[in-house]
């Protein structure tokens, strides 16, 4: 019996070996269909737009669904499914003119009916299943459709971010989703929205999803019924790699065509291998968080502006950029990153790295160094835990070590406390933001600054606030910018808010990350953006790419 087993195994091995090596298959060459293979960073967690939260999910929706508008590479709002728009003088009514005669991939008409269905469903269930879309439908009363190719948005008050809001909302096919928007709407979230019975997911964008294996691979093929400029490739595949070394070797061996999110340590490896590497500004920013809850009970010395300034003087951003990020980052200044374009306040200056100044400030604050070199504040040594979520691992560990070493020089002891992201947040919010002192985390905000500014408001306690910062003056400004319709005026308010944050220092911004993508020289035409080559800002990139 054992011999038989051995024989079978040998046969199988020989057979497998004879079928050739490499992971080739599909893709370019020999006049066959032209396909692009992309290594995903975090992959698509769900094909259901009400459920998915990963960046790759948003990008997937961008390419398979119509949106009213999109963001071009200069960060201007340009048409997608809406060809033009205008608003009433009081800005309570916005009218969008849609592409005429459009169709879904299954041949059904794509009209204003789908737009009204999507938005009115979002409004109807915003306290429940569609709660995730609540931000993009703020103050929206209803959406009506006077005819097949026009929709009208009715707002209860003027909203300055209408174009940004509609850029984030995928328009779903009413003939597929309508049946789930009934009752309590729970079915909206449980519908997997996957290819079934050999049919792709019904799509309105340039591509449709024809295959989807969770946590493995997603195949997108060109949608023949797309209303816009057809893609030049026949399709693309998004593949999940749990191992970055494997990604790098795969692209070097021609088994992969593009990588989104190249790790900084691999940039030179790829460049040396002749792979094209694009490095540009990115939206991710890393911060050093100081619990700024004005009502906190212990370690109140951390609320002392002198202490906060001293901390900033003790952080060597240049060294962090150099060692943790191998130079592929920018020292950060304000909480709204430069990648957002005009919203970033360029006049805010960070404090330079100056240990002497830091020491002087702490002396001035009256916290003297003890015999062991550690300062004492209010009777206890200045020793703090730094909450450290898993997302910061790798480069973040190095950044922390640099900060820890420098803080030792100013008499402050830092201890790294690694935890999962959920645990970090529970610790932060426990007992109303009183059980922690310091943390390191990151934000990857949308282009419009509203969101990242909101997380520092009092209202976000227990929700998005990870700093405990609560300043009525700041909240007032936040409310103002949320209503200011004149973009210039709004920009000024946003600048003012950034200066306030830089002064109050709930965050000491560390670095702005860069978007680093790589692709094989066999391809060209990718449109780069602050979100890389597979963004959820527009449909441009993958519809423009073609073999070189």
């Amino acid at each position: 019996m054992k011999r038989a087993v051995v024989r079978v195994v040998v046969l199988v091995l020989v057979a497998s070996a004879c079928t050739g090596s490499g992971a080739g298959g599909g893709g370019g060459g020999d006049g066959g269909p032209v396909f692009l293979k992309i290594a995903a960073s975090d992959f698509i967690d769900s094909m259901n737009p009400y459920v998915g939260q990963n960046d790759d999910s948003y990008s997937a929706y961008q390419y398979i669904y119509p949106y009213l508008n999109q963001l071009d590479s200069s960060l201007n709002y340009v048409p997608d499914f809406a060809t033009s728009w205008e608003h009433s003088d009081d800005q309570l009514t916005w009218t969008f003119h849609l592409v005429e005669g459009a169709k879904w991939s299954d041949g059904q008409p794509l009209t204003s009916k789908d737009v009204t269905f999507t938005y009115n469903t979002d409004i109807k269930y915003q306290d429940g299943p569609t709660g995730g879309a609540a931000g993009s439908i703020a103050h929206l009363i209803k959406v009506t459709a006077p005819d097949d190719h026009t929709v009208v948005f009715h707002y209860s008050q003027p909203v300055p971010t209408v174009l940004a809001n509609v850029q984030q909302n995928a328009i779903l096919p009413e003939h597929i989703w309508g049946q789930y928007a009934t009752g309590d709407g729970k079915a909206l979230k449980t519908f997997p929205n996957l290819p079934a019975d050999g049919q792709p997911v019904v799509s309105g964008g340039p591509f449709m999803v024809t295959q989807f294996k969770p946590d493995e691979v997603a195949l997108f093929e060109r949608n023949p019924n797309y209303y816009g400029t057809a893609a030049q490739i026949d399709g693309f595949a998004l593949q999940l790699f749990s191992n970055e070394d494997a990604e790098i070797t795969a692209i070097q061996n021609g088994q992969l065509d593009a990588i989104e999110s190249v790790p900084v340590t691999s940039v030179t490896t790829l460049q040396d291998a002749g792979i094209k590497v694009f490095i540009g500004p990115g939206l991710t920013e890393r911060d050093f968080i100081i619990n700024s809850n004005p009502d906190k009970t212990v370690h109140r010395e951390l609320l002392n502006p002198l202490v906060k300034q001293a901390f900033e003087y003790a952080i060597d951003r240049a060294k962090i950029v150099e060692t943790a990020w191998l130079g592929y980052a920018q020292p950060a200044t304000t909480v709204v990153p430069p990648a957002t374009g005009a919203w970033h306040d360029p006049t805010v200056q960070p404090l330079p790295f100056d240990l002497a100044k830091a020491n002087a400030l702490l002396d001035q604050a009256g916290y003297q160094k003890g015999s062991d070199g550690m300062r004492v504040a209010d009777g206890h040594p200045m020793a703090y835990d730094v909450l450290f979520p898993g997302s910061e691992r790798g480069a973040g560990d190095r950044a922390f070590q640099i900060i820890q070493g420098d803080f030792e020089q100013i008499g402050v002891k830092l201890t790294q406390r690694p935890m999962g992201g959920g645990a970090v947040f529970s610790t932060m919010t426990a007992d109303n933001y009183t059980k922690w002192d310091l943390a390191m985390w990151n934000w990857t905000p949308p282009i419009d600054p509203d969101f990242v500014l909101s997380v520092l408001t009092c209202g976000q306690y227990g929700d998005w606030s990870d700093s405990g910062y609560c300043n009525p003056a700041y909240d007032k400004l936040y409310a103002e910018q949320g209503k200011e319709l004149d973009p210039q005026k709004r920009q000024q308010i946003v600048y003012q808010m950034q200066k306030m944050v830089a002064e109050d220092r709930p965050y000491i911004m560390l670095t702005y990350g860069q978007t680093i993508d790589a692709w094989s020289p066999n391809w060209t035409g990718f449109v780069q953006s602050v979100q890389g080559l597979f963004p959820f800002l527009s449909k441009e990139s993958l519809t423009s790419v073609h073999p070189a």
Partner: protein, 317 residues
Amino acid sequence: MSRILIDPGIVDAPPKRARGSWIRDVLRERPSAAVGAALLGVFVLIAIFAPLLEPYGTHEQVGPVFGPPSSSHWLGLDDGGIDMVSLLIEGTRISLTVGFAAALVATFIGGGVGIVAGYFGGWTDVILMRITDYFLVVPDVPLMIVVAAIWGPSLFHIIVVIGILLWTTTARIIRAQVKSVRERVYVKRARSLGAGNVRVIFRHVLPQVAPLMIANVVLAIAVAIFDETALAFLGLGDPTSTSWGTIIEHAFLRTAMSRGAWWAIVPPGICVALVVMGCYLVGQAIEDALNPRLRVAHLSVRTFRLRPLAGRGEEAL
């Protein structure tokens, strides 16, 4: 009239053995044990004298990221520009400490359970063995992941979790040995002369079981070190400490291999392998020499378990 205290232990005592003679038995049976012991010895010495041996600091950046090996840095630099040799030496200390601590926890608990079950027999035995059996089926790595995920990663948690899972097989093995010792004549005589249970256990049973327990500790150290590298690799280790596992994990996260920085990843793996091999050679040799028929424990570092092989179910040793 002087009182002559008859020590019950002297009656029908087992033939007196010269100290360490069982060590000689071991070496005769398996000369490879000497190699294993030498390996372990070297690493233990490195661990003890770590601070004296490290050429550079383990938090000191002394060169460029992933600097290649050179005359001043024999094994190059890691992703933080820190000297690899220093990291490896520090790692020896942490890894061996974790391994040893976890193994001790496991052996104490397992040994205790095994001795009590084997000695007292009856219902105590049945209940304890049932509990042991149930623990046996809990898969280690997933449990370690769950605990680390819920309680947070820290060296202490790792030691506790590994220890809590390893004791089961120790218990079985010790129990089997205790059972056979218990039947020996001198023990029976001791008890009939009125020696208390505790005394008998400590004076008669324990010395007979001790070598087996030592073998167990040694084998458990290997499993514990192995488990720690697995946890570290999955991101659940303690990043504030430098163990071989976290060294490998850092290198992995920072794509050392595809960058060609083999020196950041190959040496720690080799260190783990050498220690595990050393533990295995020594531990297995002791077991074989003590009771070649027993052929009981079989190191399953891969399946992360020490499992009994001879017999199944109730007959399992």
